[in-house]
C-alpha cells in the first residue's frame, strides 16, 4: 500500500481532473455527473485465489439534479477540503471532517454519519483510502499481547526505532495505532489468535496463555477496524504465521466479524485487497461446538435469523464454501446461539485449559 506522502500528486491530479470535468459540463450547459462504485455486497465477488472480496464494476451515477444538489455540493466541498489538506500536509479525523462541514452554512452535515458517507464516497470515487486523502479514521485499534516485538519509530519524522515487547504489558496490552504501515515485527510465535471479546482476551492474557500456547493474542472488540485488519495482515504476511479466529457462535460473530476480517467488507471493496486477512481460519465457537461442549445457549433473535439467511442468500463468501452453508443451516436448525464466555459454565478457565488446547490440536478442522 502506498503511503500518503508518495501518492500526493496522483491524487491531486485526480481531484483536479474530476473538478475540471464538472466545470466543463456546466459551462456546456449540461448536467455534471460523478460516478461512485456501489458500496454493498451486490458489487463484490469472492475471489478464492486472492482470498478476499473483489469489486465488480457496478457504479452509481450521481447526476446533478434538484434532488441531489445538496449531496453533490457537499461532495465537491469535501474534495476541495481534501485537496487543501494534501497540499498543506494536514490531517483531519473523521470527526474533524464532520466539524469542518459546519463551516459550510446550509450545506453542513447534521450528524457525523452524513460526513462519513461522503468520505466513503470520495474514497470510492478516486479508488484510494482515506489516509491518502488526508483523513484519518477515529476508530480505535485492537489490543495485542503475547510473543511479539513491534518495531515502531521513536518519534514522528525520526529514523530511530523502538522495540515494543508485547509480553511486557503486565495485565495491560499493546494498542494497535491507526497507521500501521511503518511497523516492523519480530516474533517466533506459532500463530495469531484473534478474539472477539475483551473478556476472553483478558482471561487469556492474565493467565499468560500466549506463553503456554506460544502465540500472539489480538483483541478485536467487535468488528475489526481497518487498522486491526491491516496489522494482523502485515504481521501474518511478514512472519508467515497462521491466523485463527475465536468469536461468538452467532451470525454476527461469523458473518460480520470473521467475514470482514478475512475477506473485507462490501463497503469500499476497492480497499479490501489491503484490509483483509485471507489466511484467517475459524477456530470457533462453531455450531458443532455447541453440541460437542454442551454449551448453554440463547435463542436466536429475529435479527440473527435474518442475518444468517441473508449471509446464505447474498454473501458471496459463504456461498463459496459448502462448509459454511452447512454450519449456518445447523445454527438455524438449532435456533440457538452461544457466546465465547459460555465455557465458563463448566469452569472459569475451561476455555483456556480444555477447549482451546483441544481445538488447537487439529487446526485443519477449522472452518475456512
Amino acid at each position: 500500500m502506498a503511503k500518503s506522502g508518495e501518492a500526493v500528486s496522483p491524487v491531486i491530479s485526480q481531484i483536479v481532473d474530476t473538478a475540471r470535468a464538472v466545470e466543463t459540463k456546466i459551462n456546456g450547459l449540461k448536467k455534471p455527473e460523478m460516478k461512485f462504485p456501489l458500496r454493498n455486497l451486490s458489487n463484490v465477488r469472492y475471489s478464492a485465489k486472492k482470498g478476499h472480496f473483489e469489486m465488480l464494476g457496478k457504479k452509481k451515477e450521481r447526476t446533478l439534479a434538484v434532488s441531489t444538489v445538496k449531496s453533490f455540493a457537499q461532495t465537491m466541498r469535501m474534495i476541495a477540503l481534501s485537496k487543501q489538506m494534501i497540499e498543506t500536509d494536514e490531517r483531519a479525523s473523521k470527526r474533524d471532517a464532520y466539524y469542518q462541514t459546519k463551516a459550510w452554512a446550509e450545506a453542513r452535515c447534521d450528524e457525523q454519519p452524513e460526513s462519513d458517507a461522503i468520505l466513503d464516497d470520495i474514497e470510492g470515487l478516486f479508488g484510494v483510502n482515506k489516509e491518502q486523502l488526508c483523513f484519518t479514521p477515529d476508530e480505535h485499534g485492537g489490543l495485542v499481547a503475547g510473543e511479539l516485538v513491534v518495531v515502531d519509530r521513536a518519534e514522528v519524522g525520526s529514523n530511530a526505532t523502538i522495540d515494543i515487547d508485547c509480553t511486557k504489558f503486565g495485565s495491560g496490552a499493546y494498542g494497535i495505532p491507526s497507521d500501521v504501515e511503518h511497523l516492523k515485527f519480530k516474533t517466533k510465535a506459532k500463530f495469531i489468535l484473534c478474539i472477539e471479546t475483551g473478556g476472553i482476551f483478558e482471561r487469556l492474557n492474565r493467565h499468560r496463555f500466549w506463553e503456554k500456547a506460544d502465540c500472539i493474542l489480538v483483541s478485536m472488540a467487535g468488528v475489526p477496524t481497518r487498522s486491526v485488519r491491516r496489522f494482523v495482515r502485515r504481521l501474518a504476511d511478514d512472519k508467515k504465521i497462521p491466523v485463527y479466529v475465536f468469536v461468538d457462535c452467532d451470525p454476527y460473530g461469523i458473518a460480520n466479524i470473521y467475514r470482514t476480517l478475512k475477506v473485507g467488507s462490501g463497503n469500499n471493496a476497492h480497499l479490501n485487497e489491503f484490509f483483509c486477512v485471507p489466511q484467517a481460519r475459524f477456530l470457533g465457537v462453531t455450531p458443532q461446538d455447541i453440541l460437542d461442549y454442551d454449551l448453554p445457549t440463547h435463542p436466536l433473535k429475529d435479527v440473527d435469523i435474518k442475518r444468517a439467511k441473508d449471509a446464505l442468500k447474498n454473501d458471496p463468501f459463504f456461498q463459496h464454501y459448502p462448509e459454511w452453508a452447512k454450519a449456518f443451516e445447523l445454527l438455524l436448525k438449532m435456533g440457538k446461539r452461544a457466546e465465547q464466555q459460555a465455557f465458563a459454565a463448566h469452569s472459569l478457565n475451561y476455555v483456556m485449559d480444555t477447549y482451546l488446547p483441544a481445538k488447537l490440536k487439529n487446526p485443519k478442522s477449522f472452518l475456512p
Binding site: L29, L64, V66, F72, M76, A80
Partner: protein, 578 residues
C-alpha cells in the same frame, strides 16, 4: 329510533302514545313497565303467563287472576322516568349536567326563533358543594304566560312540539321537565322559573315540582318579582351532578352550540371561572322553518287511525286532502280506489281493516315529495363565518345539500370543515355532529354521521386515514342534519339512525367538500415542493461554485459564470420535472 319502532317495541314509546292520545289515562301505561296493567283484561294476561310455563310438569298455581289484579295499577310517566332516567340522558352525574343545560338551551333557542328574536343566552353553572350544582339558563325570548309555566316545567310530556312537524330542537316535550324532575329527585329542590312576556307585564317567579304519582305540577311558590329584562325566561335547577372538562363536557357543548347557531350570542359562566362570551357571527335570524303536515309515506298505521278518529271532516276524501301534504284530489281518488273505500265514508267510522287498506294504498300511488320550506339549514355562509370565528385554519369550506326525504320526512344535510392552520396535525380529526343545530356529544360510533365520515376514503383527498378510524390531520368537520323529525336512536337524542337516504346525503356532502379539500391539499403540497426545490437550488449551488473555485483556483468571474450556468441547467430541469 323511528316512531314506528317506538310504538311497537320498547317501553318508552308508550310515553309518547300517552301524550299523543291526550289525557285518557288508560292509554298511557299499557306496556310501560312490561306489567300486565290493562285493567279490563287481567284474565288474558294471567292466562298468557300460565301458558308460558313449561307444559310437561304441571306447576302449582301461585296466584289467581284476581290476586294479580290487586297489584295492577296505573304507572305515571313520571314514575316511569324515575326508574328509567338513562333513557332521557340522565344516566350519570356528568351527563345529567350536560343534558339539563341542553334541554334548557334547546327550549330557549326554539322559543326565540319562533318569536323572531335574535337569541342572547346566559348559561351559568354554580358549584354549591361537592357534586351539587345549580344551573341557570336565561334567554331574551318571548317569555311564558303565567298559566302555562307550571305545566311546562311540572309535567312530563307537555309541550307544543310533539304534534307538529316542524324543524325544532325539542321534539317531545319531555326534556326540561325531566331535567327539573332529576333535580327534584337528587336534591329535593324545585325548579325556579322567572319569566316575563313584555315590558308591560310583570315578571313572575315560580317554584315548581312534579307530583310524580300523578304527573301533575305542584306549585310551591308563585309571586311577582323584579327583573331587569324586558322579556325572556330564566330557569334554575339545582341538581346532583359533576362538572368535568374535555370532550362531552358542558364547555364543549356550549362552544359547539355557538358554532351551529352563529346568530346566537352566548354568555357562559362555568363553575369558578370567568364568563366566556361567544359573539354572533351573523346578525340575521335563520329563515323560519315552516310547519308542515305529515306526508303519507311517513305515516304509520297507528297514527293514521288516530288521525281519522280525531278528524272533524265528514268525508274521508276531504280528511286526506286536509291532513296530509301532497295529497291532490286525483291522488286521493286513486288511493281510495285501490283501498276500496268510498270517498264519502266518514273518517271516524272506518274500521281497522279499511284504514289498513288505505295505509297500504299510500305506498301504491306516486305522491310528490313533501315540501321542503319546512327546513332551515344554517347555510353555507353562516357555517363558514362560524368556523372562521372559532378556528384558526387556513382553509374553510361548507356545503348545504338540497333537501331530501326519508320515509316521508324532509331533511337536509350540511357539512363544513376547517383545515390546516393551528389545528393539531398529528391527531385524528374532530367531528362535530349536529341535529337541528343541537350538538350531539355521545354515542358517536352508533351515529349515522360517524358512519358516513368513515365510509368516505379521505386518502384520495390527501388526508391520512387508517382502516376503521377517522382520518388524521389538522381538520375539524362539522355535520348538520336538519329535519322536521330527526330519527334519533334513543330518546336521549345522542345518535342518528342509519337511514340509507340520510347516509347517502351525508356522503355526497362529504365527498363534495372532500374533493375541494383534496385540490387544496395537493395545491399546497405542490407549492411547498416547488418552494423547497427553489430554495435548494439557491442554497446549494453557491457551494459547488466555492468548491470548484478552491480546487481549480478559478477567478471570481469564472466562478460566477459556472454558478450562473449551473442555475440555468437546474432551472431547466426543474421545469421539466414539474
Amino acid at each position: 329510533m323511528s316512531k314506528k319502532n317506538v310504538r311497537a317495541k320498547s317501553p318508552q314509546p308508550s310515553l309518547f302514545d300517552a301524550t299523543a292520545s291526550e289525557p285518557e289515562p288508560a292509554a298511557a301505561p299499557v306496556k310501560a313497565a312490561a306489567l300486565p296493567v290493562a285493567p279490563e283484561a287481567p284474565e288474558d294476561d294471567a292466562e298468557e303467563l300460565a301458558a308460558a310455563e313449561p307444559v310437561r310438569k304441571a306447576p302449582t298455581r301461585r296466584a289467581t287472576a284476581e290476586s294479580l289484579a290487586e297489584k295492577q295499577r296505573e304507572i305515571s310517566v313520571s314514575e316511569f322516568f324515575v326508574k328509567n332516567r338513562h333513557l332521557l340522558g340522565f344516566d350519570n352525574k356528568q351527563k345529567a349536567l350536560l343534558t339539563a343545560v341542553r334541554e334548557c338551551v334547546d327550549n330557549s333557542l326554539d322559543a326565540c326563533e319562533e318569536a323572531g328574536i335574535l337569541p342572547e343566552l346566559r348559561i351559568e353553572i354554580r358549584e354549591l358543594a361537592e357534586e351539587r350544582f345549580r344551573i341557570a339558563v336565561e334567554d331574551n325570548g318571548p317569555g311564558i304566560v303565567k298559566a302555562q309555566i307550571p305545566k311546562i316545567f311540572g309535567k312530563l310530556l307537555y309541550g307544543s312540539k310533539f304534534h307538529r312537524l316542524k324543524q325544532q330542537r325539542g321534539q317531545q316535550g319531555i326534556g326540561v321537565s325531566a331535567a327539573g324532575m332529576y333535580g327534584q329527585l337528587t336534591t329535593g329542590k324545585p325548579v325556579t322559573i322567572v319569566s316575563r312576556t313584555s315590558p308591560q307585564a310583570a315578571p313572575h317567579l315560580f317554584e315548581v315540582t312534579v307530583d310524580t304519582r300523578k304527573n301533575q305540577p305542584l306549585v310551591l311558590k308563585e309571586e311577582k318579582t323584579e327583573w331587569e329584562k324586558a322579556h325572556g325566561t330564566r330557569v334554575e335547577i339545582e341538581m346532583e351532578a359533576s362538572y368535568k372538562k374535555g370532550r362531552r363536557s358542558v364547555d364543549d357543548y356550549v362552544e359547539q352550540t355557538a358554532l351551529s347557531n352563529p346568530h346566537c350570542r352566548v354568555l357562559y359562566s362555568p363553575p369558578g371561572q370567568e364568563t366566556i362570551t361567544y359573539e354572533r357571527a351573523v346578525h340575521e335570524l335563520p329563515e323560519e322553518a315552516k310547519e308542515i303536515k305529515p306526508h303519507p309515506y311517513g305515516v304509520e298505521l297507528g297514527r293514521l287511525m288516530r288521525m281519522f278518529q280525531d278528524s272533524q271532516d265528514r268525508h274521508i276524501s276531504t280528511a286526506l286532502k286536509n291532513d296530509f301534504s301532497r295529497l291532490t284530489p286525483k291522488v286521493v281518488d286513486d288511493i281510495l280506489k285501490i283501498a276500496g273505500v268510498s270517498p264519502k265514508a266518514r273518517p271516524r267510522d272506518l274500521d281497522t281493516p279499511a284504514i289498513e287498506r288505505v295505509h297500504k294504498a299510500f305506498t301504491k300511488v306516486k305522491i310528490m315529495a313533501p315540501p321542503t320550506n319546512c327546513l332551515s339549514p344554517v347555510g353555507e355562509e353562516a357555517l363558514l363565518k362560524g368556523l372562521r370565528l372559532r378556528f384558526k385554519a387556513d382553509y374553510y369550506d361548507a356545503v348545504t345539500r338540497p333537501p331530501a326525504v326519508y320515509r316521508g320526512n324532509p331533511f337536509q344535510v350540511e357539512v363544513a370543515l376547517a383545515h390546516g392552520g393551528s389545528l393539531p396535525a398529528e391527531e385524528l380529526i374532530e367531528v362535530f355532529r349536529f341535529a337541528n343545530r343541537v350538538p350531539l356529544q355521545y354515542q358517536a360510533s352508533a351515529c349515522a354521521v360517524t358512519k358516513a365520515v368513515l365510509s368516505v376514503d379521505w386518502r384520495s383527498y390527501g388526508m391520512q386515514m387508517s382502516k376503521g378510524a377517522l382520518p388524521t390531520g389538522p381538520m375539524v368537520l362539522m355535520l348538520h342534519i336538519a329535519s322536521v323529525w330527526v330519527p334519533f336512536t334513543s330518546e336521549s337524542k345522542e345518535a342518528i339512525a342509519h337511514y340509507p337516504e340520510i347516509v347517502k346525503e351525508l356522503r355526497l356532502a362529504l365527498m363534495e367538500v372532500g374533493r375541494r379539500l383534496g385540490l387544496h391539499i395537493r395545491r399546497g403540497k405542490r407549492e411547498a415542493a416547488e418552494a423547497k426545490k427553489r430554495g435548494y437550488i439557491d442554497k446549494f449551488i453557491p457551494h459547488i461554485g466555492i468548491a470548484l473555485k478552491e480546487i481549480l483556483n478559478l477567478k471570481d468571474k469564472e466562478t460566477d459564470r459556472v454558478v450562473a450556468n449551473l442555475k440555468t441547467v437546474l432551472e431547466r430541469s426543474r421545469e421539466n420535472m414539474v
